[in-house]
């Protein structure tokens, strides 16, 4: 299944997310400049680029934290620009953070139950009066937490405080929390940062399962080139806020503009040879 998906041409399939000519200007700084990008449904794609390239700003615009200065963002045809972050989540985009942002005084289970927030229908009064709806929504949240903990393999940490989990597991818990919102698209901001090779391998398998088992489209920002090149079906490269390249992993790897962005002009001209390219 993975193979067939990775072989299909992204441009010809239906897109879950369409970003058109998005620009973000902070004061005099153009953080993201006229970026257009389509994410095919049920794909795994990556956004890469050197530090400060505008990747996280790009994520923040998709998730509604920033409003683009120009451009449109559509999720399955629905306009996202102008929605609040929580409305974006409700529409079906979830995310994780570059620096882990779990709810530190909550257990793993409760963290995921917060992720379930938008899908629960019980109101303030339901909670006060303990109506049937309240009990249903609570057990739904617990069930979702159980399923997600199982999915990422953290069942043993169910009642452990989130901050007490090992680093790699915290990353996984953050992914589980994002998945609990039942998104159509999940954005992972440097999920492998700080992980050892073994944990990275686990993560790779997990990301594949998110797409294959849950049918959720995955878009990641990542600096670990080995992970990006083996996992992504399609890669977009940003530098100084602009899209400088996109394509299949081997196309991007051999694109001189990408090498230039990562290594400088000299390297791109072949001064250091092919070995110095940003792949692994």
């Amino acid at each position: 299944m993975t193979a067939s998906l990775s072989k299909r041409n992204p441009a010809s399939s239906s897109n879950i997310l369409e970003v058109e000519n998005v620009t973000k200007i902070f004061g005099g700084l153009t953080a993201v400049n006229d970026v257009t990008m389509n994410i095919p449904d049920r794909s795994i794609i990556s956004v890469i680029g050197p530090n400060g390239a505008g990747k996280t700003t790009f994520f923040n615009m998709i998730t509604g934290i920033y409003t683009p200065t120009k451009g449109t963002i559509r999720l399955a045809g629905r306009e996202m620009v102008g929605l609040r972050p929580d409305q974006v989540v409700e529409a079906g985009i979830a995310r994780t953070f570059q620096n882990i942002r779990l709810f530190s005084t909550m257990s793993s289970e409760e963290n995921i139950m917060v992720g379930r927030h938008v899908r629960l229908k019980s109101s303030f009064l339901d909670a006060v009066l303990h109506t049937k709806k309240f009990h249903e929504s609570e057990s739904e949240a617990r069930e979702a937490a159980r399923v997600m903990l199982d999915f990422v393999g953290l069942s043993k940490w169910r009642n452990e405080l989130a901050t007490n989990l090992p680093y790699g597991d915290q990353r996984k818990l953050e992914i589980a929390r994002a998945l609990a919102t039942t998104p159509k698209l999940v954005l992972l901001d440097e999920p492998a940062a700080g992980m050892n090779p073994r944990e990275t391998e686990d993560l790779k398998a997990l990301i594949r399962r998110i797409r294959d088992d849950l049918g959720v489209t995955v878009c990641l920002i990542e600096h670990d080139m080995r992970l990006v090149m083996t996992l992504s079906e399609y890669i977009t490269v940003l530098d100084y806020g602009s899209k400088i390249s996109e394509g299949l992993p081997h196309q991007v790897r051999n694109d001189p503009r990408v090498m230039e962005a990562y290594l400088g002009r000299g390297a791109a001209a072949g001064e250091y040879g092919k070995e110095a390219t940003p792949n692994a």
Binding site: D86, R101, M113, V114, H117, H130, F134
Partner: protein
Amino acid sequence: MTAINPTQPNRAKPAPDRTILLILFFVVTSALLLSSHNQAVLNGSLGGLLRNPIFEALVVSLFLANVLFAYLWRAAPWARALVGIGSLLLVLPMAGREDTSLLDLSIQIMIFSALALGLNIVVGLAGLLDLGYVAFFAVGAYTWGIFASPRLSSILKYYGENPGATNAATLAIGLFLLVVTAASMIYMRRMSDKTAPTRLSSWAFGLASFGLLAGIILTVRAIAVLGASNAAGLATGIDSNFFWLFLALSIMAAAIVGVLIGLPVLKLKGDYLAIITLGLGEVIRVLANNLDLYTAGSQGITPIKSAAVPWFNSLAGFLGFSEDQYYLLFLYVLVLVVVGVILLVNVRLDRSRIGRAWIAIRDDEVAAQAMGVPLVQTKLIAFATGASFAGVMGMIFAAKQTFISPESFNLFQSIGVLSMVILGGMGSFPGVILGATVVTLLNLRILPGLGEATANIPWIPQQVNPGQLQRLVFGVILVTIMLLRPEGLLPNKRRVLELHHDENQEDDSAEGNAGALGTGTGDVYSPGKAPTKENDRSGGAK
């Protein structure tokens, strides 16, 4: 998620069963309390000791500790229920029959407990530092105070003499505006869930809220003018049977003010929010001071009615209370019920979707929003919920004092309630009740008792007499407690888990039921943590 029986030993080292000790403590302290308020005993040989103000304060404190121990100690459920209910519903009213100041003190403690519980939602759960909390208390107090006192007839008289251009048509216009703008606001609110807001829709909403305000003002004015002829009939305010309706109205009024204050400020956080709520809290007090027509300014409103409950009065009479004690006993039972309900609401909200959202916002606002928690709405609910608890207690406070003035609602009250929350343990329901109890006891009994007892001792110079230095002693006690227990007297379960995460922990979803909560024996707190707590505790409670 099965409920865990708190008395079941599911730990390697179970807490010793203290049923006998609890009953013994209850009997001894009850006997002490009753005898120290018994005229015959007071006249006896022990009278001198029992009349000593320090001893008196100690007896009351020890007696109130019963409820705490019934909650904390591992004992047979019947014993805990007996001690809890017995202390609050039997012994305390009995002692209060001889000495109404005891009932007064208990009502005060419970009013502050409710305030602390309300502020705890805002500060402890949602993490929004609110220094103007007492404003909502004032709103509740004035809601009842204006209507249930001679103030109402003065207002009507004023409008009768100055009707302006107001007539029946004004009422029609006002009501029309009210309905149209309210309906359009609800419609716009519905639409905004589906589509992104535009500049036009924001302006339309602003215009509609302006129209709503105008509608309210016109309607109220028209009603006041048209009803002016009734002024004579309302010389002492509206009928006291309206008390129950106003209980609901004061909740609503405070919640609405909470939303109105919250809307503009909740985009801020931390220190900024604290300063701006401080300012807005003062605005409410200054308004109460300057709206002479409605609030009688700094003179205050008096006398304010209480509820009239004939069957309760006959019951109180049957129990041997004198007529002037009826209303105090009634208010005592009322605040007991209200605090019970507030506690129940708190516990239920804490373990719900909205409670998790509050804690998520406290822990990490950005992450909470990225998980789909609508920040402004969730914070507003916290503000409004906390405000409504203050509102209902404000109304009861007005009925109890029969007098309110803006001075009852100054900044120090807000800070006092905040100190109760922090002292007891932010985010912990039993903790903030304990905090409110300790602070109120210190302020109303222990420190005045200390001052009174030492006032006439010749070798203590006047300058360092504790009676003169009550505030200083209070401050020193606060600082000491906070240094020794920074997490509060009865810290939140979550904080305990954070501090002692290596200890074996378990699923704590035990639900306290409504009856048990009302008497303070509900098991909100992790039962297994109790043993370590009480050793530290006994020092702090007294």
